[in-house]
């Protein structure tokens, strides 16, 4: 189906050479290398429907990039199956290529020595995009990404933010129904990040593209994704909405309090946990299934401590993710 992604029990393992320590070890590895198997992705399944933006989350080394590489057809899975817009990407690489666009972080696909517009022209001809359509799409992209200010500059002279915006445009010039973005906003300033987000929202909502995004920027996730898939150690930990993640791993609320001087015993009331402390500033959250409601907690905190200020927050997504990553750790070790 156009624009859909189906992933079924996808797994991928790599063989690596074990480096022995020391000088003698290096010599031995030269003569008789020892191999080891690493499971980058194990048994992952999920679906993305057309016109949906899905955030693929996980700590560094979780297997996000490996998953994206399999879906773009650059990497063959060890087992399992994937379909992108109805095509098995690693079996029909060139057919898949016409259906997808991809940006891999700071790696640029633009021609280093040429003005950006020349790169666009090369891609237009590689993907057989009609001239009028190309011009119209370029105008549309320019409207949000403000490319025309620098698209006659050679790529080698662009700033990072400019280059990534051009790379995004380059990946979408052939009107692909499915787009893969591997940490597209890494290292960019807030203004450019916002521009890129607006562009992505526009592409999903107005153009109906399916987007699979990996990022470590939780603000981005909150602004863009309705649904997330969380993986860790190559395994799928959770597939659901942001609210579900919050419910499962995060505190549903946080109480921020400023304590009066002289508090030494900070043991919180039952069902409440101390999340952070910075001098007199403390943050409490719910602890366990028997946790009190936010109103009960507020009351308990005020009764338990002498406070000079107090506020209620919705849980920070970063904290939720930290809890989720930590939670996923033992499960992966066990298997």
């Amino acid at each position: 189906m156009i624009g859909s992604i189906e992933v079924r029990s996808l797994s991928r393992s790599f063989t690596t050479t074990v480096r022995r320590p020391g000088f003698a070890g290096a010599l031995r590895s030269l003569v008789n290398p020892e191999r080891a198997v690493k499971h980058a992705v194990s048994d992952i399944s999920f679906d993305v429907v057309p016109g949906e933006l899905l955030a693929l989350l996980g700590p560094n080394g979780a297997g996000k990039s490996t998953t994206i590489k399999m879906l773009t057809g650059i990497l063959t899975p060890t087992s399992g199956e994937a379909r992108v817009a109805g095509v098995v990407p690693y079996e029909e690489r060139e057919r898949n290529a016409r259906n997808i666009g991809a940006v891999f972080g700071q790696r640029t696909q633009l021609w280093w020595d040429l003005p950006v517009r020349e790169s666009f022209a090369i891609l237009r001809d590689i993907y057989d995009v009609p001239g009028a359509e190309h011009a119209a799409r370029l105008r549309e992209f320019d409207g949000i990404l403000e490319l025309s200010a620098f698209w006659d500059t050679r790529v080698r002279h662009l700033s990072l933010g400019q280059r990534v915006r051009c790379d995004l445009a380059a990946a979408l010039l052939h009107d692909p129904p499915v787009v893969f973005l591997d940490e597209p906003t890494i290292g960019m300033d807030v203004v450019v990040k916002e521009q890129v987000r607006e562009f992505l929202r526009h592409q999903v909502e107005q153009r109906g593209r399916t987007v699979l995004l990996t990022t470590h920027d939780m603000t981005e996730v909150e602004r863009l994704a309705e649904r997330v898939v969380l993986i860790n150690h190559g395994r799928l930990v959770l597939d659901g909405s942001l609210d579900e993640i919050r419910r499962k791993f995060g505190s549903t609320w946080q109480v921020r309090a400023t304590l009066a001087d002289g508090h030494t015993d900070l043991a919180p009331p039952p069902g409440i946990v101390l999340l952070r402390q910075d001098g007199p500033q403390v943050v409490f959250g719910p602890d366990g299934p028997e946790a009190p409601t936010v109103h009960q907690a507020l009351k308990a905190v005020i009764e338990r401590y002498e406070v000079t200020g107090i506020a209620i927050d919705e849980a920070d997504l970063e904290d939720v993710m930290r809890a989720a990553y930590a939670h996923a750790e033992p499960a992966a070790e066990g298997v």
């Binding site: 790599f14 990039s65 490996t66 590489k69 773009t72 057809g73 650059i74 990497l75 063959t76 690693y90 690489r93 060139e94 057919r95 290529a97 016409r98 997808i100 991809a102 891999f104 790696r107 640029t108 696909q109 021609w111 280093w112 020595d113 040429l114 003005p115 020349e118 022209a121 090369i122 891609l123 001809d125 590689i126 993907y127 057989d128 050679r154 080698r156």
Partner: protein
């Protein structure tokens, strides 16, 4: 449509050069100085000698200068454009080659074609100047010129495949400087860039007939100066064509293996 993307990919190098005038100046200076030096070296060497290794002074100078011109065909600053396989492997951008509906082999060939045509423009201009200045001799007859052109084209095809082999090696070893040095050195020595192959001992020339390098330059240049007679040209051209076919089959096999490797390692 295929013509369009071929044109776009082929003109990447010339366009990049035109956007960087200092680089063009550098090529011009280097080419001029190198031609002057090589021409004076060979006339100096021949000062006390008549004909040696079957080559007269004029033949040797013509051969050596043509070798300089011809070796410029692909002697550009390959790294400046960041579009070499080794750089793509280094920066991880090789994945994009496999994400396009244009096969990497075809793209690589188109880029090289553009580069060689651009280099040929330089070589041709240099040739015209050298001929006008009397540094080199014109070909003996129209037939020699014709055979030379055919042989030069075949030689460039062999050269393309040798360079391609070097690039393909990058798929297996990230660090291929050693192999690169060996191949470049072998290419320079055995194709006749350093000195015409005729000056080398017999065993060395026998050795090089079993290698593709001499088919890139030594054969066409020897035909041009008349060191290989027109009557022997057929066999030499067949040998060159044989190398083209052999190397083409081998590099095609390697492209397939490289693709397999990329999609099993993930670039």
């Amino acid at each position: 449509m295929a013509v369009l993307h071929a044109w776009r990919a082929a003109r990447v190098t010339p366009l990049g050069e035109l956007h960087a005038p200092p680089r063009m100046t550098a090529v011009l200076v280097r080419l001029t100085v190198q031609v002057v030096l090589v021409a004076s070296l060979w006339s100096g060497l021949y000062a006390n000698t008549g004909v040696t290794a079957g080559m007269s002074r004029e033949q040797a100078i013509t051969y050596a200068v043509l070798a300089v011109l011809a070796s410029r065909l692909r002697e550009l600053d390959q790294y400046a454009g960041r579009d070499t396989v080794i750089q793509h492997m280094h920066f991880g951008t090789i994945v994009y080659w496999y994400l396009r509906p244009l096969s990497p082999a075809r793209y690589h060939a188109l880029r090289a074609l553009g580069e060689q045509v651009y280099g040929a423009a330089w070589a041709l201009a240099g040739y015209a100047v050298c001929l006008a200045a009397g540094v080199i001799e014109p070909p003996e007859s129209a037939a020699v010129a014709g055979v030379f052109v055919v042989s030069l084209l075949l030689g460039q095809l062999v050269l393309y495949h040798v360079m391609l082999l070097l690039d393909q090696m990058c798929f297996w070893t990230v660090r291929n400087t050693a192999a690169m040095l060996i191949l470049i050195f072998a290419q320079n020595l055995m194709s006749g860039v350093y000195a015409p192959l005729w000056f080398f001992p017999g065993w060395f020339r026998t050795l090089s007939t079993f290698l593709p390098f001499q088919a890139t330059l030594n054969v066409p240049l020897s035909l041009y100066v008349g060191r290989i007679r027109l009557s022997d040209a057929g066999g030499q051209l067949a040998l060159q064509a044989g190398w083209v076919v052999l190397l083409h089959l081998f590099t095609r096999f390697l492209w397939r293996r490289a693709a397999r490797r990329v999609i099993s390692q993930g670039g």
